[in-house]
Amino acid sequence: MSTNLQIAFRFLVAKRRAMLLSLTCTVLGVGFFIVTQATTSGFQDLFIKTLLETDGAIRIQDEIQDTMRSMAAAGNDPKESFQIEEKEGRKYIEGIPQPALLMEALRSFSNVAGMAEVLHANVFITSSFKEDTAQLYGINIDESSIDNFFHVSDLSSQIVAGDLGDFRTNPNRILIGTVLARRLQVAPGDSIQIKVSASQADQRRYKIAAVYETGVEDIDKVRVFMHLEDARSLLHKPTEASYIQVTLVDKDRAPADAARMQLTLKHSAAPWQQREAVWLTVFRALKVSSALTTSIFTLIAGIAMGSTLFMIVMEKTKEIAILRSMGYTPRDISSIFIWQAAIVLLVGCLAGCALGAGVTYAVNQIPLPLRGIFKTNVFPVTWLGWHYFWAVFVAVVVVMIASLIPARRAARLQPGDVIRGTAQ
C-alpha cells in the first residue's frame, strides 16, 4: 500500500462516523439509480418487445405517388401565358396492389429477417349476444411459406384459450382477442357472423378457433385474425394487401431501413420508433426523470464528502504541515484527500451495485398483473451493465468534484504558516 493511501485510510477510519453519511448516500444513490433504471427500462423493453411481436419492426403500406408540380408557360402575348398551380407534395394510394413483387424486393434488404402480407379492414361482428365493430386481419398462415405471419409475430404464443391447430388447419376459423371475446360473450367453438358494412346483407359465419391475449388493450378489443384467403373472399380483394409486416435482425436500424425502403419501393414505410413515438418519449422521459431524482442521493453524497473532507483538512492542518516538512509534496497532500474520497467511492459503489442488483431481483419477484399496453404478471426489470456503469459514473463525477476543492485547499497550505499559526 502506498504511503499516501495508507495515510488516507487512517484519516478516513478516524473519521468513519462523519464519512458514514457520505458512504450511505453513495450506496443509496448508486443502488436506487440502478433499480429505477432497471424498472423503467423493464417497462420500456417489455413495451417494445410487445409492439415488435405484434406489429413488427417496419410496416410497409400505402403506395406513394408524387403529385404534379406547379407549371408555368409563357406565350408571346402575355394574355396567352398561363400557370397551373398544384399543391406540391405526395399522394398516398391506399394498399399494396402487388404484394408479391414488393416482398421480393424487400428480400434484398440484408437486415430483413421476415415479412408477411396482411389484408386489413373494419368489419361488424355479431355474436348471439351482441354486435360490435372490429378490425379484420387476413394473415398468411401457410406453414410451407417463408412469409408466414407467425414468423413475424408472436401471435402463436399469445393464445390463451382454444386450439391454434384448429385455426391453422381449418378454413372459416378465426382468432379473437380476449377483450372482444368478453364483450361478445364468446369462447372457442362458438360461431360469430362478420359483415363488411352495416347495410350489407351478406354475412358470413366463422367459428372461433382460439382466443389470444397480447396484453395491448387496443389490439385485444378489436383485432380478429382469419386466413388470408378467407379475408380476400370476404373483402372481395383477390390480390392486394393492406400492408406488409417486416421484422428485422437489428431492430434499432429500423428508421434507416424504413427510409431506404420508402425511397426505393415507393411505399410508405413506418418504423416502430415512429409508430409508437409518443409512448417511447414517455418512457424516455421517465428514465431521465428517475435518473435525475435518484441522483439527488449522489449529490448529497458529494456534498457530505466535500464537507467531511473540509473538516478533516481543518483538523489536520498540523499533520499536513509536518508531512510537508518531511518532504511530502502538495500533490502528495492532495492525493491523500483524493484517496479518501476514492475509498468511500469504491466501497459505496460496490455496496450500491450490490444493493441495486439485490433490490432489482426482489422487485422482479413482485407479482404485478398488468394489461393495457403490454402484458406482464411480475414487475418487469431489465438487467443491463450500462445501468451500473452510469450509476457509478455519476457517483464518481459528483463525489470527486466535491473532493477536489478540499484536496486543493489542503495542498495549498503553507507549512510555515500552519506551524506559525497563521494559516487561514
Binding site: F11, A14, K318, M326, G327, T329, Q414, G416
Partner: protein, 237 residues
C-alpha cells in the same frame, strides 16, 4: 549580493551544512506588516549545536522556518549543503527538506492515527531509499536509541508528552539529514524530560555529524550548546 551572483561557490566550506546571508522577512499585511528579519546572516557547521535565543517576537522561529525552507525570504539567500535554495521552486525546496533537514517542533505533531514506528518511518517512506524492512529496522533502532524500543507499536495517543517528543526526535533523524532544526523542542516538557530530549538530540546528531540549530527560551539548554546566537529585533546581536 544579488541573486545572480549568489552561487554554490559562495559556500565553499564543506563543513558548513547550512548558511544564510542578508535574510529579510516581512510578516502580516497592510498596517500590520512587520519587518521581522532585518538582514540576518548565519551559518551552522556539521557536528555543532547552535542555540538561537532572544525575546519573543525577535524573529527566532521565523529564521528557523526560513532555514528549514518552510517559508521564503523576501530578500537574502540560503544555502543547504552548498546548494542555493532560497530562490528555488516549491518542488526543489520540498525535496531538500525531505533529504537534508529534520524538524523538531515545540508540539510533537505526531500523526495520532499511526504507531510510533510508523511515525518514524514516515519521512523514510517518502524519501524511498530503503526497503520497507530496512525502514522498519532503522525506525526500531532509532526508537530504541531514544528509549522507546518497547513502545514501537503504540499509537501517539498512548504515549506521554515526553515520549511523543522523543518519537519526534527519532522521526527528525530518520533520513539522516545534515541539519536538525528544532523550535523550542523542550518548551512543552518538564525539566526531566527536557534534559532527556536535549541530550538525545545532541548525542545522536553529534554521532552522525549533523548540524543542530535550536531555538529556545531555556537558558540551561542554551548554555549546553556549542554556540549561542542571541537575537533582538530581527538581527543577531
Amino acid at each position: 549580493m544579488n541573486a545572480a551572483t549568489a552561487t554554490a561557490a559562495d559556500a565553499p566550506d564543506p563543513q558548513i551544512a547550512i548558511r544564510c546571508e542578508g535574510l529579510h522577512r516581512y510578516l502580516g499585511q497592510g498596517e500590520g506588516r512587520v519587518h521581522v528579519l532585518r538582514g540576518v546572516s548565519f551559518e551552522a557547521k556539521r557536528g555543532q549545536v547552535y542555540a538561537i535565543v532572544g525575546p519573543s517576537g525577535c524573529g527566532k522561529s521565523t529564521l528557523l522556518y526560513l532555514l528549514g525552507l518552510l517559508d521564503q525570504p523576501d530578500k537574502g539567500h540560503i544555502w543547504i549543503d552548498r546548494h542555493l535554495m532560497s530562490n528555488s521552486g516549491d518542488e526543489a525546496r520540498t525535496a531538500a527538506r525531505g533529504e537534508h533537514i529534520g524538524f523538531v517542533f515545540q508540539f510533537h505533531f505526531l500523526m495520532q492515527e499511526f504507531t510510533s514506528l510508523e511515525n518514524v518511518m514516515m519521512p523514510m517512506r517518502k524519501l524511498g531509499r530503503l526497503s520497507v524492512e530496512a525502514m522498519a529496522e532503522r525506525a526500531r533502532s532509532l526508537l530504541t536509541a531514544v528509549g522507546l524500543g518497547d513502545k514501537t507499536h503504540r499509537l501517539g495517543t498512548q504515549l506521554s508528552g515526553g515520549e511523543q517528543q522523543r518519537v519526534a526526535v527519532a522521526r527528525a533523524l530518520a533520513n539522516q539529514p545534515a541539519i536538525i532544526l528544532a523550535d523550542e523542542p523542550t518548551g512543552n516538557l518538564d525539566a526531566k524530560n527536557s534534559t532527556i530530549v536535549f541530550d538525545l538530540l545532541t548525542r545522536l546528531a553529534k554521532e552522525n555529524g549533523q548540524a543542530i540549530v535550536l531555538v529556545t527560551h531555556n537558558p540551561e539548554i542554551a548554555n549546553r550548546c556549542d554556540v549561542i546566537r542571541p537575537m533582538r529585533d530581527g538581527l543577531f546581536v
